[in-house]
């Protein structure tokens, strides 16, 4: 279903902007090599792609489900395709991109495992950023309230949340192992800080750079 958030665009928007303003740009910008070819899934209005095009000289492409966001992305000069990332990658040939980025969207996809597989089919590397459901505040919220957790990271009522597949740092590492992915780099963030200790408890957002096991062989 969704490449972009539904339900609470304003809230999500503010959240993404805050995150990007803080460290996501910096981290993804740090990972992405100049002059490469990048596909951003659920690219919203194309802010990250525009930034990468201007600062890293990448060839930038995006996929986004919301027509209004696609309009703004194209208007800012980014090549974005209006479509669905749960199915929409099928058209791309194998290894068409150097990086496929999925920022804050994995937990919104219907079939995250398939999406991850497709990302590494069309791209040599995948950059996956997601909110960590294992963060202590989330755990505490659930423990104390007894209801579905609501925190700064997960601000939605359960019936309005675009998030349908909650995952933790621990879960992602397990899936990567199961899929025999090579985790080339991992970053853990809490607010403005990088987290080094017990990331599954302390990281609000995780960013993974992964490649398929046989890449480069």
């Amino acid at each position: 279903m969704s490449a972009g958030p539904r339900g609470h665009p304003a809230k999500k928007q503010a959240f993404v902007r805050e995150l990007l303003g803080r460290s996501d740009y910096a981290i993804i910008g740090d990972i992405v090599e100049p002059g490469t070819k990048v596909l951003d899934l659920g690219c919203g209005e194309g802010e990250l792609l525009e930034w990468l095009a201007q600062n890293k000289g990448v060839e930038a492409r995006g996929v986004e489900i919301s027509g209004a966001k696609v309009q703004r992305a194209i208007a800012r000069g980014v090549s974005v395709y209006q479509g669905d990332i749960d199915q929409g990658l099928a058209d791309y040939p194998d290894q068409a991109f150097d990086y496929v980025i999925l920022s804050q969207t994995l937990q919104e996809t219907h079939r995250p495992r398939k999406v991850l597989g497709e990302m590494l089919r069309v791209g040599r590397r995948a950059i996956v950023a997601f909110p960590n459901f294992g963060h202590w505040r989330v755990r505490l919220s659930m423990l104390v309230s007894g209801g579905a957790p609501r925190t700064k990271l997960f601000p939605y009522e359960w019936y309005e949340s675009p998030n349908i597949h909650f995952l933790t740092v621990f879960d992602f590492e397990n899936l990567a192992a199961l899929e025999r992915l090579v985790v080339e780099r991992r970053y853990f963030l809490a607010g403005h800080r990088k987290v080094t200790l017990v990331p599954n408890l302390l990281a609000e957002v995780a960013v993974f750079l992964v490649s398929a096991a046989l890449a480069g062989h």
Partner: protein
């Protein structure tokens, strides 16, 4: 902006059917200024019943062009930056050689002796025009409906001549439904006794048949929503039904008006020839598949469709985009929300303007 119509004559052209047409006149207009390096030219391609008068005010009739809301200073196709060319298509009746033109071999109108033409032939004539301008590469080729089909044909047939293409509300080939509507239009014309096997020049044209054809066309250009909004079940100048077969409903009045107005500006035989060209159009012809057709294409694309367009539904634009993605081409695509049906590409200009302005600016930036 008062614009002048121009005509250029080419000696001859070989057509897809194997026939040769000689000579060929091409009516065109231009807007803006061609830069010294000839890198800012954009070819505007008109839809089925359009003509070379895309923008500005024509001196004789004082009429604005069919895409005047999109072409001009500060508009989507900004005449301060770009040089736009629009020509009447081959087979047309607005200055370019068509069935109503005089065949120099006989001294009479071609009528049905005019060779059957294709979208490829139209584009070949346009390429001659672009050569005549001495333009090596077009910054963009663009149009809606049949204009979009020509834009696609350009990108496939002359991949080294186009930097970008903006196909709007169009398809890579007509569906059975699209062919069916065209056939109804053709049959309406040919069923009119005044059509006289196409030989009516100098006499009475098949006005009733052509008007009916246009009425059907107008239904396909609108949407259920836009017709409900525009007409509903309102009666025309009366409080109750007339209990006869004069005009009762607003929608009847509108269609009759559109039909009769069309007769004054369009040639029935051109209707036959151009709709046939659209029906024959299939971008996969000679390539096997759409992806193969785009094999040599290096252009970047912006494809646009409209949510309520049931004549050229979004799935047809998505087919274009999917084939381009399979070729790893640079393509942007969006379905714009609109109630106006197929007509949206002519009337819903605000959103198109933002898209096209950004896309063209980015194209200039990326141009080699």
């Amino acid at each position: 902006m008062i614009v002048e119509a121009n005509t250029v004559r080419f000696d001859s052209i070989s057509l897809d059917s194997g026939a040769t047409l000689a000579p060929v006149d091409v009516a065109y207009e231009t807007y803006g200024r061609l830069n010294a390096s000839k890198t800012n030219a954009i070819l505007i391609l008109h839809a089925f019943s359009g003509d070379a008068h895309a923008a500005g005010i024509s001196p004789e009739k004082g009429k604005p062009g069919w895409w005047d809301n999109m072409i001009g200073p500060g508009k989507a196709f900004d005449t301060n930056k770009y040089f736009m060319i629009c020509s009447n298509v081959l087979g047309g009746c607005r200055g370019t050689t068509g069935p109503a033109s005089v065949n120099p071999a006989t001294g009479r109108a071609y009528a049905m002796s005019f060779p059957v033409i294709t979208i490829g032939d139209m584009v070949r004539v346009q390429r001659m025009l672009i050569d005549w301008f001495g333009i090596p590469r077009l910054l963009s080729v663009t149009g809606g409906s049949m204009g979009g089909m020509q834009a696609l044909e350009w990108a496939v047939s002359y991949p080294d001549r186009v930097v970008s293409a903006i196909p709007i509300a169009c398809t890579t080939r007509h569906s059975a439904q699209q062919i069916a509507f065209n056939e109804v239009g053709r049959q309406a014309i040919m069923a009119d006794p005044d059509w006289n096997n196409g030989d009516y020049y100098g006499g009475k044209p098949p006005a009733r048949g052509l008007a009916v054809a246009r009425m059907v066309g107008h239904i396909t250009f609108m949407s259920d929503d836009s017709m409900r909004e525009k007409f509903g079940r309102r009666l025309r100048g009366k409080e109750t039904f007339g209990f006869d077969f004069d005009v009762d409903f607003e929608v009847e009045s509108y269609l009759r008006y559109r039909g009769s107005e069309f007769v004054n500006r369009f040639d029935a035989n051109s209707y036959l020839y151009i709709t046939k060209a659209m029906d024959y159009f299939d971008l996969t012809n000679g390539h096997g598949s759409l992806a193969a057709a785009f094999e040599r294409t290096e252009a970047r694309f912006l494809a646009i469709s409209f949510s309520s367009d049931w004549l050229y539904p979004s799935y047809q634009s998505q087919e274009i985009v999917r084939a381009l993605r399979a070729r790893n081409c640079d393509v942007a695509y969006v379905e714009l929300e609109s109630n106006y049906g197929h007509d949206a590409f002519l009337v819903d200009v605000a959103e198109q303007t933002d898209l096209i302005r950004g896309f063209l600016a980015n194209t200039v930036e990326k141009a080699p």
